[in-house]
Every structure is written in C-alpha cells, then in structure tokens.
C-alpha cells in the first residue's frame, strides 16, 4: 500500500508572528519557516506504518513556491521514499488544496492519505474533510491512534466528548492530531540520502486543476494585547468578581 502524506510550509511555531503594517497578512520575509507540526506527525505515522510492514511506499507532497521544496526535503530526510512538488506561487485555500490532492490521489492511487488536522498558519482545519468529500472516500479526522488491519483501519479520534473509535474502509483520508506520535529526529545519514531521492514536480495545468480564489481576505490584525490582571484580597472577593463577570 502506498501512503500520500501532505505537508505544508508554515512560519515556524517558535517565531513571534508579526502582522504586516498594511494589514495584508503576516510578515514572512526573513522569518524562519518549517513544516507544519501536525504534518510532521503525519509523516512520522506513515513511516511507522512502513516500518510495521503495512505500507510499501511513503510519498510526501506539497503545494507552494520553490522554497516549499525545503519541507519536502525534510520529509525525505525523515524517511519518505519520494516527493511530489506542485508548483504554485500564490496563496492557496483549503478547497484548492483538496482539489490538487484529489487530482494527485487519482494519479497515485494511494491506499491512504495522511495529513495534519490543521496548519498552524491559518488554522482552517478543512483540507482533510474536503479531500475526502471530493475523492468520495471515508475520512477519520483528529486521529490519536491508527491501527491498520487488512482493508480497514481503526482510528481513535479526539473529539469534544472524549475519544471516539471508528473503523473506516481503505482507501481513506486520515488527519492527525497532536498525541498520535512524537516525530523522529532527522539523522545526518538520512539527510544525505534525501538528496538522492526523487522529487517530481507538477504545475496546476499538469493536474488539470484551476484554483480561482474563493475567499477574499479583507484584513489581518494582531490579537488585542493582554491588558493584565489584578489582585483580589480574599476568596470571597474572587468568587464575587468571577460571578460579576459571568465566568462562574
């Protein structure tokens, strides 16, 4: 079975996000970029499936400008077998990504598509669901445990009410949550091997996909600064204050 793992280039989670002065998005010039952490978990899961013998090939895919190849190279250094780079300069939205991934899924015929539950830049959390709908395959989102058995996969999902366990038929789309695994370190010999692994590239016309923007971003503003707290004298005052603010 082949697994398609989707990775996105995002601002590194350690970076302090700054909004551009004109409100047209966040500053990315000279800012450290990295693979979306949830996607890293997806890559790790795919590699573990291969190591357990369930998977024969792990293919990492991304959509973006030339620099996004860096994240594919990271996936290859982690252990993915090959990579697919879909060249696209402009910003892209979840439905657009899902369309591209559907086109790739039809080409590659994977048994499983793994991707992070959301990207830490726009936090949309929609791509997996949209892909499953377009591809007309089952979905299991927010996975914290994935067990493959034959033609089905048992997924433990982290939902508001607790943990939900479902069986889905393969091929399927699974989005990965934080507690699924701890991604491995990239080792130096693997970094060197990654250089020699194949990376195919496509353009949107190659895949027969058009991506008219469907969402218009009007403005980006930083969240309001925290105003700071104040001290109360007693437990009674604390309870009264919380009640007054409607918090208890």
């Amino acid at each position: 079975m082949k697994v398609l793992v989707c990775v996105k280039r995002v601002v590194d989670y350690n970076v302090r996000i700054r909004v551009k002065p004109d409100g047209g998005g966040v500053v990315t010039d000279g800012v450290k970029m990295a693979m979306n952490p949830f996607d890293e978990i997806a890559v790790e899961e795919a590699l573990r499936m291969r190591e357990a013998g369930h998977v024969s090939e792990v293919v990492a895919v991304t959509i973006g400008d030339k620099k996004s190849q860096e994240q594919l190279r990271t996936a290859l250094a982690m252990g993915a077998d090959r990579a697919i780079w879909v060249e696209h300069e402009e910003a892209i939205q979840p439905l657009g990504v899902a369309r591209v991934l559907k086109a790739l899924a039809e080409r590659e015929q994977p048994g499983l598509v793994l991707l992070g539950k959301q990207a830490i830049d726009d936090d949309c959390g929609q791509t997996a669901q949209m892909l499953a709908a377009l591809w007309q395959r089952p979905q299991a989102t927010y996975a914290s445990e994935v067990v493959i058995s034959g033609e089905t996969v048992r997924v433990t999902r982290e939902v508001d009410a607790g943990l939900e366990v479902i069986d889905v038929d393969l091929p399927a789309v699974i989005s990965t949550d934080l507690r699924l695994n701890e991604p491995r370190y990239v080792k130096l010999p693997d970094i060197m091997k990654a250089k020699r692994k194949p990376m195919d590239s496509y353009t949107l016309p190659d895949l027969g996909v058009e991506l008219p923007p469907l969402v218009e971003r009007l403005e980006t503003t930083p969240p309001p600064a925290r105003t700071g707290g104040f001290k109360v004298e007693s437990v009674e005052e604390l309870v009264a204050t919380l009640k007054e603010k409607g918090l208890v």
Binding site: R73, Y185, L188
Partner: protein, 386 residues
C-alpha cells in the same frame, strides 16, 4: 558566488532546533552547573550521526567538511546549547585521525568514535607553553622498541570522560633542534594506561565540560601510536587549530543570536513607562548593532570554513572569524542583559549565565591579543613585537 545553503546544509544547520526540543538550554544549564557530561544529549547526537560529520563514510562518518561542521555547531549554539566537547573531539581529533591516520589507526578508532562508544580529547596546552606552543616540554623518549611519554598538560577539556587523548609532544628536545617547530610528534594515547594521572581545574564558567590537568609519568607508547609523520607534528597542527578557531567562532555567533532572540522577545513585551521597552532606542540600537556584527562574523566564519575545505590558506579568515565573533557575541550578550534590567541577573531568566561562556571564548582557545599579533604581523606585514 552563491550564498545559498543547499537543502542538505539547511537541514544540518537546523538540527540544533530539533535537538533543543528534547535537550534544551535548561538541560544544558543543569549539567553546566556541576560540570556533568551531558551523556543523554551526547548519545542522541551520536545516534543521529553528527559526531562524525567530518569523518569519511567508510569509517562511520558523514564525509562532509568543516563547513557543515560549522553549520551544525552554530545551529546548536543558536539554541543556547554550546558544546565544547564537540570542538575537541568531532572538530579537532576525529578529522585529524581521518586525514593523517594509518589504515589501522582509522579502523581502530573512528567507527567507535563516530558511534559515541569512545571519546577523544586533545592535549596541547602546558603550564609553561600556552600561546607559545614551541616551548612545549612534554617529551616521548625512545625506550627499547617504543617510547616513554612524560610531561604535563593543562586546560584539557573532558580529560575525565575521554578514553583517549591526542597528545602534542616533543620527540626531540627544544635544545637539540635548529628550528623551534622541529621535533614534534602527535601521539594517540590511551588515558587508562599506567602512568596517566589527572587533576581537575576549578573553572568558574558554567559548562557541562570539565577542565583537567593531565600528567604523564613514563607512559609506554609504540611507534604505531604516532599520528602522521614522526618529528613533523607541528606541520599538521594547524589542520586542527584553525578548525578549532572557526567552530569556536560559530559558537560565539550562535550564543549571541540566542541571547539576542531572548532579549528581543522580552523587549517587545516588557513595559515600564509607556509602550514596550524595545521601542527605546537606548536599548534597541545596541541590539540592532549586535545583530549586524553577529551576522558579519557568522559570514566570515563560513568563509573561513570554506577556505579550509578548499585547501586555501585559512589562517587569516579563521583568526578574523574568531576575533569578530567573540567580540560580537560578548556585545550581543551584554546588550541583552541590559534589556532585562535586574531580571537579567536572576536564575529565573537565565540571561546573565550566557555571558561567562562568550567571555571565555574571547580568551580561549586563542586570545584576542594573539589574533591581533597574527593579523598585524602575518597579514599586514608589521614588525614583530615579541
């Protein structure tokens, strides 16, 4: 000219970021406080294949150059985790064995060293010969089929944890050679051998490594323990001293960047009068100036590493890198401490604690003054002062 790092080099540079997720500045400080060797972190680095960056693949290494070694070390320091252990072993000793060792020596030492099963330290400095290396008196005298090593070394990093030492010794006394740099040989010495003794030096700089005096009292060596050409040891010394300076420069730039990152974060949040203190140019400009100097030093450091890897003369670039990076590192850490006000001196914030290491690296492994002597005399052609 191409200043872009390859994707491979970028991943090597970023390795410190991932290592720091498990072994962070806090872990480093906990070990630094008691000079405890950071075994867990060291083993992780070994498992990830980074001990043998500069060792050929056939001996368990990665077969890369000093350029990659520099990126790796600067990447660690960017995260506040400088490791002098990797200067004396992975930067100085291992590549020298790989370059000048016999096939038997390479097979015997390198695979274990790359895997972290054994460790090497580098013993050159003596109480009576610090910057003035030709005055070394440690000597290996012919005795039967082998040699007897006797003498004393000082400021030897990790001499307690290391299994072996690369010892710079005379094989002909100073009084019997015409040129003062003649008559040197490098020996691979087993530190468990009879006649080896050591004493810890009380070093007040927080660092996981410890510093030792090493004593050799008629330690038995064989001809097969000599590294490189017998009697010509001095000629190959700078194949290890230049890399040492270059990688130390990378540590200084990285630590400066780490301090600066912490200071910028704090200065953007901390409010004393109106608005964040980072808006005060009295604080902002020293940080900005430090940033400029750090990046310039960092670039010079990579140039020096490039020169070394391409067999170009490296002394000028290596010394310039070490001088500028140590100065820039000290300036950056100082400006960062100032940003934190009183908090800068508390354990909670851990900023002041960055200073001793960058300050040490102004003096070691080669002092600022010796670098200026080198640039003054060897580069500018000014008359010698000593």
């Amino acid at each position: 000219m191409d200043f872009d790092l390859s994707e491979e080099q970028q991943l090597i540079y970023q390795y410190g970021d991932q290592l720091a997720q498990r072994f962070d500045r806090k872990y480093w400080m906990e070990n630094a406080a008691t000079h405890r060797f950071p075994t867990e972190m060291f083993q992780q680095i070994a498992d990830d294949g980074f001990l043998g960056v500069m060792v050929p693949e056939s001996y368990g290494g990665a077969g890369l150059g000093l350029f990659e070694m520099t990126l790796f070390m600067e990447g660690l320091a960017n995260n506040g985790i400088p490791l002098l252990s990797l200067v004396v072993s992975s930067t100085m000793s291992l590549p020298l064995i790989a370059r000048y060792g016999t096939e038997e020596q390479k097979q015997r030492y390198l695979p274990d060293l790359c895997a972290g099963r054994t460790k090497f330290c580098f013993a050159i400095t003596e109480p009576g010969a610090g910057s003035n290396t030709p005055e070394i008196t440690t000597i290996a005298r012919k005795s039967g089929a082998g040699y007897l090593l006797s003498g004393q070394k000082t400021f030897i990093t990790d001499a307690n944890d290391a299994d072996f030492a690369l010892v710079v010794t005379r094989t002909t006394p100073r009084s019997e050679v015409t040129r003062k740099t003649d008559g040197f040989t490098l020996f691979l010495v087993d530190l468990k051998a009879p006649g080896v003794d050591r004493a810890e030096i009380d070093i007040r700089v927080p660092m996981p490594e410890s510093q030792w005096q090493l004593f050799f009292d008629d330690v038995q060596l064989t001809e097969a323990d000599a590294l490189g050409e017998f009697g010509r040891g001095f000629d190959i010394l700078f194949d290890t001293l230049n890399p040492e300076r270059i990688v130390v420069a990378a540590i200084c730039s990285g630590l400066g960047r780490y301090a600066l990152g912490r200071a910028v974060e704090y200065a953007c949040e901390r409010e004393v009068f109106s608005g964040p203190i980072g808006a005060y140019q009295g604080l902002q400009h020293p940080l900005a100036e430090s940033k400029a100097l750090l990046e310039a030093a960092s670039l010079m450091t990579l140039k020096a590493a490039w020169c070394f890897d391409h067999n170009r003369p490296t002394g000028e670039a290596a010394n310039t890198a070490k001088l500028t990076a140590a100065d820039a590192g000290i300036k950056a850490v100082d400006a960062s401490i100032q940003c934190f006000g009183g908090n800068g001196f508390t354990g909670d914030y851990g900023i002041y604690e960055i200073y001793p290491m960058v300050r040490l690296l102004k003096t070691a492994p080669v002092s600022r003054e010796m670098i200026l002597n080198y640039i003054g005399e060897k580069v500018l052609g000014l008359p010698r002062s000593y």
